[in-house]
Structure formats: structure tokens, C-alpha cells
């Protein structure tokens, strides 16, 4: 667990940013547990217990939570008395099914008429309406916490390492289940159960994309009733969390372990792309150099036009965080960033390959947190 003092330090750092932006107060809004709980969790330790649902007053179960922060206190706003008070670091907690009405009260009580808002991309229109009606001016301040969350503390890296251990159990079990005749759903069930048994808070999904579906980077649903046949490429993308910190690891396997020439080309190019990308990782390096290194390997293999240009992303209290590993990125790597590096290539209609590692940027280069998970499980 994150020490209580670390939460107080985070709150102090957020206050410093707030003052730098000449804001008197901040409202931080987070979504439910599968969806963007990070900002409120980062500041207060609160993790929402429920996904959102449609509601009508006085019944609420939206899953949203909010934090009010000014120069002297942090007030957490939740909509259920069953929040984990043992995990929360706040000066006051307000519990109300009318979350946004309570937020208005808190702001009025502190005469905070202009507030920075973190989470405008997740806070519902309804919140904005209530604040506007009550006469408050909102200043979008979405980047404020993002920059603080980008580099992880030692305690955070330790939790991310423990989260990866759940991914390991899940992926090894899922790979073992990839035999001819097994359905994607059966592989999914096996992998999810292993990750939960290993202590995951939840598994957000295990995408099992087999055969032609392996060329899809995303699909509804995560697993279908398609049955595996010999020589299917199978992408296994396992995403979830442990103690609030996420894991996101992807492996490609092959039913029967005997790749056709075009499959071998995809897999070898992906391994080379990954190795090249990881070799460039160290503090100060522009993100786009990491991306270029991977894409260069695909170019050399004649697969450049089929390679994804999004090479990965940060990870922490949410699955996808800054920095985004894109060719256009202006960011540079910093010590303590934890990155999901996931070169991928897809031949539409035929199949695809991807390998995703989690790495922490160290002073000298990087440490691969997922090195205990075999890259190609048949070798």
C-alpha cells in the first residue's frame, strides 16, 4: 500500500501546481472503477466500489467520486457510506447520493467561485450544469495531475511489479489453454481465473483474438465462441489491477507452435521491434525516438505499412496514462516512468502479432517488469 505520508505529499504537489496556475481551488472528478478512477485515487486513496449505472434521485450508484482541494484541506465526495475509510487520506469526507449538489455546497462554504477542474473529459455534463447554475466558473485544468502522475514513486513501482505478477499467472494459464478445439471463451475463462486467483482486484478484460481476429486491435466482445484450429495466431491481452495499480500485458501465441513463413515474419519483426525500442529507453530520450526505433525494424522487414504507429503508453492507477508513445510526441522519457511498450503489426484478414512489455525507466536505461513472462511461449 501507498504510505499515508505519500498521499499528503501528492496533495502538496497538487497545491503547488494549483498556485502556479493562479487557481484558488481545484475540483477533481473521477469515473467508476473500470473507468478513469485515477485522479481521485491518486490524491486521496479512494477507489470506487461500483461501476456506474443509470440512476434516479434519491437512489445513486454512479460510481463517480470527486475531491475538492484548496490551500488548507482536501474534501472527498463519495456517494456511498460503504467507501473504504481505512484507505482514504482526506481532511473531510462527504457522503451523499447527490454528489454534484454536495459539491456545490462545499464550494459555497469555501467561497470558491472560480475553480480549476481536473477531469473534464470524464465528468458528466450534469455536473457542469449544476455548477454553472450555482454561479461557479470552471477553468479546465486536466493536465495538472497528469504531469504529477507520470513518474512513479518507489512504492508505486513496487505495486506495479506486484500487479504484473497477476498478469503473469493469467497469461501463462491462457497460453496453456490455447489448444485446437478450445474456444476463445474457454481460453479467456482460464486466464481470467488465474489472474484473479493471483490476487487481482479485477480483470478488466482478457482479449482473446484468434485466427483472422488476431488482426483486430480491438473487438466486441473480448472473446467469442470461435474454436481454435492449428496454426491460428492468438493474441492474449490481459488488463486489470491489483491494489489499485494496473497491469496490461500482451502476448501472441500460435496453436501448434509451428509458424507458417508469413507468421514467422510477423513474429520475428515484432520481437526485433521490441528489442530495438527497449534499447533506446533511458531518461532524456525523446519518446518519438523509441517509436522510430520500433517502426524502423518493421520497415526493414517490409512490414512498415502494416505496423501500428501507437507504440504504447504509460500505466499506473489507470491502464492508459501519459506519456503516449506516438511518432508525433514532444515528450521525453523521465526516470520513474512506467511504460507499456507494445509494437504490433496486422495483416488485415490474415492475422497479427503484438508483444507488450511493461518497463520502468531507470537512471541507466530500463528494467523490464514483465521479463518473467516468456515472449514466445512455444520456444
Amino acid at each position: 500500500m501507498i504510505p499515508r505520508e505519500e498521499y499528503r505529499e501528492r496533495q502538496e504537489r497538487a497545491r503547488a501546481r494549483m498556485r502556479a496556475l493562479e487557481l484558488q481551488a481545484l475540483v477533481v472528478v473521477s469515473g467508476p472503477f473500470y473507468e478513469r478512477p485515477g485522479d481521485v485515487a491518486y490524491l486521496s486513496g479512494h477507489l470506487p466500489p461500483f461501476p456506474t449505472s443509470e440512476t434516479e434521485p434519491p437512489f445513486a450508484g454512479t460510481g463517480y467520486a470527486a475531491a475538492f482541494l484548496d490551500h488548507r484541506e482536501l474534501v472527498l465526495l463519495v456517494d456511498t457510506p460503504r467507501y473504504r475509510s481505512d484507505r482514504v487520506v482526506a481532511d473531510e469526507v462527504r457522503v451523499s447520493v447527490d454528489l454534484w449538489g454536495t459539491l456545490v455546497e462545499v464550494l459555497r462554504g469555501r467561497a470558491a467561485w472560480e475553480v480549476g477542474v481536473v477531469g473534464t473529459d470524464v465528468a458528466p455534463v450534469e455536473m457542469a450544469r449544476r455548477l454553472e447554475e450555482a454561479g461557479f466558473r470552471m477553468v479546465p485544468a486536466d493536465g495538472l495531475l497528469r504531469s504529477l502522475r507520470r513518474c512513479k514513486s518507489a512504492a508505486e513501482v513496487d505495486l506495479l511489479r506486484r500487479a504484473v505478477a497477476c498478469a503473469r499467472e493469467g497469461l501463462v494459464a491462457a497460453c496453456t489453454a490455447c489448444i485446437p478445439g478450445a474456444s476463445e471463451q474457454e481460453v479467456c475463462a482460464t486466464g481470467v481465473a488465474a489472474a484473479l486467483r493471483a490476487g487481482a482486484d479485477f480483470v478488466r478484460y482478457l482479449r482473446v483474438h484468434s485466427g483472422p481476429w488476431s488482426a483486430w486491435t480491438t473487438r466486441w466482445p473480448p472473446a467469442t465462441d470461435r474454436r481454435l484450429i492449428k496454426s491460428d495466431l492468438v493474441l492474449l491481452d490481459l488488463v486489470g489491477a491489483r491494489e489499485g495499480y494496473h497491469f496490461d500485458v500482451l502476448r501472441t501465441t500460435l496453436v501448434g507452435f509451428d509458424p507458417l513463413p508469413w507468421q514467422r515474419a510477423l513474429l520475428e519483426a515484432t520481437q526485433r521491434a521490441l528489442a530495438r525500442a527497449l534499447r533506446t529507453v533511458r531518461p532524456g530520450v525523446p519518446v518519438r525516438e523509441v517509436v522510430a526505433a520500433a517502426l524502423g525494424a518493421y520497415e526493414e522487414a517490409g512490414l512498415g505499412e502494416h505496423a501500428a504507429t501507437l507504440l504504447g503508453h504509460g500505466i499506473g492507477l489507470e491502464t492508459v496514462e501519459a506519456p503516449y508513445l506516438r511518432p508525433e510526441s514532444e515528450a521525453r522519457l523521465e526516470e520513474g516512468m512506467v511504460l507499456c511498450v507494445e509494437p504490433s503489426v496486422c495483416l488485415p484478414g490474415r492475422g497479427g502479432a503484438c508483444i507488450e512489455e511493461e518497463v520502468v525507466v531507470t537512471r541507466e536505461g530500463c528494467e523490464v517488469l514483465t521479463s518473467g513472462i516468456p515472449r514466445l511461449l512455444w520456444e
Copy 2:
């Protein structure tokens, strides 16, 4: 699957409501797959492939989707080319990582300057900002689809029945795993895997609340590393979906099958509350009469002050839908509603009991879809 003609009928019914509200056009916004995908799925068949994540242009993966509807067409807006076009019923599909920018374009192209918005409680502030900047006037119209979705068609009831079959497999497996020494996490893994193997698209969560935690109606995380001991009450709440239609079934079990007197009192009162509630269910009956019947049974058992007043909710393309079974409800039951009826009682610090059945309101009364799942698994 829902027949394509049924989607066209839904679109026509939505148009009729739109005209009744004197609206020229409608924008329907839905959340990602765990969170409120229902309205866009109801109109178009689109189910989002991914949960939401923080993004930065041009990379998007928000999981949101939108539908534009006017008197002649339905335009679906999605942010990935990998949407399941085989399942979608729309006149046009626009794919763009800039979902809200594309929505502005669509509205401009149709000169729709005033639009009804369905989903103001889920659409992000960012969407409202973009529409306002472009000069559009938004009229909240959240209830418009809710009333259409309340009563299920024969095809929908069939899908809900198939979804319940997944819950059955999951709960029976989870109950069997409730032995002394097993952790909540192990029980959770067993139940989730069984539901996925039975064909669930996903399991949103299996809450395993044991011992004192059984008095918590909600908690982060859904299962902990607490190990079960003899005489623990264990609440098992399994929520997920199959073919887009949700299941939500809860059972209470007891480790060792030998209830203490206070546990027996909770369990028997809950069974009586459930039986009384279900006996009142038929078309035309006020929702509050169903609630009163259940609460009356708890009153008679001297447990009135500890009983939850929210007795349940509708279910369909989302876990929680109208009607909400609350004492203050003004609604009446209608044929075709599918209800989760879940009387519950909690003694804080000691334990709780809940049994949740899914029932469809029929002409004569109701049919219990979950009757194949034993209510008390030790009897």
C-alpha cells in the same frame, strides 16, 4: 440476436417520441462497454469494444459512441474502424478518433441547430463544450429512450434468459467453492470462470462479501484475500452480460450450512420478503406496492430498520435500468418489464442477507427467469 427489423422499429419509435417533444434531431451518447452502453446499443446494435481511457489527440480510445437521429436517418459515430459492422443497423457510420468534432460536422451538415440530447448524465463535459462552441443548442432529453427500453420484446426476453444461464453456472460454481480456508478471491475466480465458460461476453464483477463484509452492500474491491471460516455468511453478486444483455443475480450462502439463530432470522425473513414481493408482481400494480410487500415481511420479523428500501431495478442492455423499485416510486408495472427483485437486510458489523431474482412481468403475474438457481444452496 435481435432481428434487424427490430432495430428499425426502435428507431421509428424514437422518432415518434422526438416529434412529440417537438425536436428535429436527437444526439444519443453512450459510455464504454462496462458503463452505460445501452442507449446507442438499443438504437443501432453497436456495442463498444473497449473501456475508456485517458487519451490525447490524435490517439483516441474513449469507448464513447454516439448516434445522430433525425426524421430520415440514423448516423452512428464510433472511434475505431474495428467496430462490429456485422451487428450494426445504421444508415451511415462515421469513424473518427475525434468523436465530438465529427458530431459537430454531422450536425452542421444537417442544419440541426437545436438537438435533444440523450445521455447528459454520461456524456462528458468536453462534448458539451464542443457543441456550444459550434453554436448548437442542446435540450436534455434523457427520458426519451428510457421509457422505450423499459418493456422488453420477446427477442430481448429470450436474450435475458440466455444471459441468466451464465449467471447460473457462475453462482453454482462459486457457492461450491465457499469452503473453510478458501479466500474470497478464489471463490471469485471460480465463479467468474464458470460464467465466462458458459458464454458471457464479460463478467462485470462477482462480489464475494464474506463474514462481517456481508453487511456491506458495496465494497472496493469485489473480492479480498479474506479466508472463509465456518458460519460465515457469504454474499455472491454476479453481474455481467451475454450478447449485450445483462445478468445480475445474487445469492447468500453460509459456510458449513448450519446457520446461527440470528443468521437464520435474516435468511428466512429475506426469503419471505422475496416471496411476498413476487406474489404482488403483475401489470398495473404500483411499484411501491411490491416494495411495501417485501418491507412488510422484514417489519414482521423485527428487522424493518435494517432492511434496504431499494428493492431492485429493471435490467436489459444495462445492469441497472428503470423502473427503480423504491418506496417513493410513482411507476406502475407493465407487461414485458424485466426486474431484478433483491430484498436485503444488513446488521452492521455482523452480517447481511440478500436474494436477487430476475423476473419478467407477464400478463397474469410474473415468470422467474432465475428459478433454476437454488435460493439457499445448502438446503
